[in-house]
């Protein structure tokens, strides 16, 4: 009954006209952002955070707005995946495998509606899962001491590095760069500056928003300059949009199964949405077998990754809210949002700020229905967005990024750092070094160090304390396995490559 009372509290906040309006605006903006080629959920949400901050919204409102944008961008991402064969972010890659062939076969409208329904099922079930699982996990999280938290952060880096990249050493470098950057600035416990090289601008440390916007948005601009925006012309025609009931009914079990798979993958810290859509697609592909025709534009091949992807996005909120460990690039950006709003995620969030948590969960449920309504009958409006040419879009994104970061501190130094991160991101992506661990490192570095130092203070410098409880041993084992196992599985589980024309 606790859950019902909590949900009632949540809905009393989320159903206020003002919050409702924010959720609808967020869904609309989010779908547009997701649909814009070159802007995915992570960079879209990233460039909006500083601006939301400038609006001066209170914590709940800002959170409702931005999570609506996040869910909306997950929905919108499928539009550019299906019509342009451009995934907005990594999890959307799986949707292009069958979505684009189906659209090319003249069934673009069907593909869009089907994926919209699959997204709804995935996100809705995942939000229900979040409602039941998050309070339970929050209770477990109270058992976590500094040693367990240290192991948990390590697990996040290991699984993210292990699963999401093709080369363990490169993922480890990226994590270390992020953690190393997080150490810059005044040390919290001694009050003395560290690693600033005497530069006064660095005394406050490097703002994670500067890094996120630089690595995601500015890097993307460089890629557009390199390719001259060639890959983004609309080659598929969208005539009329009707609801393909037959396909939806055929896919009902696929959507349910994939939602469960996606949710579980999302809950694993560090694994996140990419793993969710990947596992959902691959498991359905093996269930369907050779005759299933996966990869040629079949309905199940669209429903599976979309349900999995959106369920994982919801599932990723579980570790993010209860433990403060994000499960994917986009949830890392959401964690950045929480930290900007001075909300510390963790078990205490559920007891001390129930209105934030439950208001957020209720808004997610509402946002989901709003998104279904927006994305099925109104999908044609969003398809128009694809026609924004990259030579208007990318300069616009750059200018919005600059003004957003400038509004944070009003210093040119942050802008220079942002450009620097943009260049770093370009080089890293060229060399196939993942950039998400850098962001995770900057976000979690401070917490990770604090956990380590507290643990050592408690044990008076005895290192074995880090492995002294069953929970921490379990986390260490999972961390090592998460980092090492993909090296051996890589040959068996080969990632499908993008379809080319």
């Amino acid at each position: 009954m606790d859950i019902l009372a909590n949900l009632a509290l949540g809905f009393s906040i989320a159903l206020s006209p003002y919050t409702l309006m924010l959720a609808v605006i967020g869904c609309f903006l989010g779908t547009i952002i997701g649909a814009l080629p070159g802007l995915g959920p992570s960079n879209g949400v990233a460039i909006l955070i500083p601006l939301t901050f400038a609006l001066g919204l209170d914590a709940t409102s800002a959170l409702v707005l931005m999570t609506a944008v996040y869910y909306g961008a997950m929905y919108g991402g499928r539009i550019s995946s299906i019509l342009l064969n451009i995934p907005g972010d990594e999890p959307a890659l799986m949707t292009t495998l069958d979505g684009y062939p189906m659209a090319k076969a003249g069934r673009a409208g069907d593909a869009l509606v089907l994926s919209g329904v699959a997204s709804f099922v995935g996100a809705f079930l995942a939000t229900l899962g979040l409602i039941f699982l998050a309070p339970l996990l929050a209770r477990v999280a109270f058992l976590f001491g500094p040693a367990e938290y240290f192991a948990l952060y390590l697990l996040a880096f290991c699984t993210l590095g292990g699963m999401a990249s093709n080369n363990q050493a490169k993922a480890a470098i990226a994590s270390c760069i992020g953690l190393a950057i997080a150490m810059i600035g005044v040390d919290e416990s001694s009050g003395l500056p560290r690693l600033t090289g005497g530069n006064l601008h660095l005394y406050d440390g490097v703002d994670f928003l500067v890094a996120i916007v630089g690595l995601f948005a500015i890097t993307e601009v460089f890629f557009f300059i390199e390719s001259h925006g060639k890959h983004s012309s609309l080659g598929v025609k969208l005539d009329k949009v009707s609801i393909p009931w037959k396909d939806i009914i055929v896919c009902r079990w696929v959507m349910l199964r994939c939602s469960v798979v996606g949710f579980i993958a999302g809950v694993l810290p560090g694994a996140g949405a990419s793993l969710g859509s990947f596992m959902a697609y691959m498991s359905e592909k093996s269930i369907a077998g050779e005759k299933g025709g996966f990869g040629t534009g079949v309905a199940k091949g669209i429903a599976a990754p979309e349900a999995g992807n959106n369920a994982a996005a919801g599932g990723a909120l579980v570790p993010m809210l209860t433990l403060g460990v994000p499960g994917s690039g986009t949830t890392a950006v959401l964690l950045a949002l929480l930290m900007t709003l001075n909300i510390t995620p963790g078990p205490t969030l559920f007891t001390e700020n129930p209105e934030v948590v439950w208001g957020l969960i209720a808004s997610l449920l509402i946002a989901n229905f709003v998104l279904l309504v927006m994305n099925v009958p109104m999908v044609k409006i969003f398809v128009r967005v694809l026609q924004v040419p990259p030579w208007v879009l990318m300069p616009g994104v750059t200018m919005i990024s600059f003004v957003g970061i400038y509004s944070l501190s009003g210093s040119y130094f942050d802008l220079l750092l942002m450009v620097g991160f943009g260049v770093l991101g370009y080089i890293m992506r060229k060399l196939d070094i993942p950039t998400v661990p850098v962001i995770l490192g900057i976000l979690l570095g401070g917490h990770m160090e604090t956990a380590l130092r507290r643990a050592m203070l408690l044990s008076d410098g005895d290192w074995t304390y880090l492995f002294s409880s069953p929970i921490s041993i379990g986390l260490w084992v999972a961390a090592v396995a998460g980092f090492v196992a993909p090296m051996f599985l890589r040959n068996i589980l080969k990632k499908p490559q993008r379809v080319t024309d």
Binding site: A180, S189, R194, L195, I225, V392, P395, L431, M456
Partner: protein, 146 residues
């Protein structure tokens, strides 16, 4: 091959520099067993080891763009740096129009489109930022108006 080796080498050197610099951190008299140096040094060591891996076991060479594209990218970086410095002293409208126009031209070389994009973006974004979001932007600095 080569790219990974170079990156790995640069990363190793940076990691070593990071360790040295972390080791020079001042320590206050109140300190815990790990202290302010411990964690950064630990990170630096892991960083250096994984960077060495990149030198020893590099991936195949990525596809780098030609020299001309590199020039264009370097120019874009210069424009962005210039924009960062110009935003405060020159106000919002002028630097934004120039920077947006140049970037637009670099993505699609059409002077007319680029000029329109620059002017349009700087005007529209100024209105949104100033009046819809209430940011304190200066359109054109006073000294330019005379």
């Amino acid at each position: 091959m080569q790219s990974d080796r170079i990156f790995g080498l640069v990363a190793t050197v940076l990691a070593l520099a990071y360790i040295v610099s972390a080791n020079q951190t001042q320590i206050s008299f109140l300190t815990d067993p790990v202290g302010p140096k411990g964690f950064p040094i630990l990170i630096g060591i892991i960083w250096a080891i994984s960077a060495m891996f990149m030198v020893l076991r590099p991936d195949p060479q990525p596809e780098w763009p030609g020299l001309r594209t590199f020039g264009a990218l370097a120019f874009a970086v210069l424009i962005l740096i210039g924009y960062a410095y110009a935003l405060k002293p020159l106000g919002f409208l002028l630097p934004t129009a120039v920077a947006a126009g140049v970037l637009s031209y670099q993505i699609s070389p059409n002077p007319k489109h680029a000029a329109l994009t620059g002017i349009g973006l700087s005007g529209v974004l100024f209105l949104i930022f100033k009046y819809a979001l209430g940011l304190g932007l200066v359109a054109v600095p006073k000294w330019l108006l005379g």
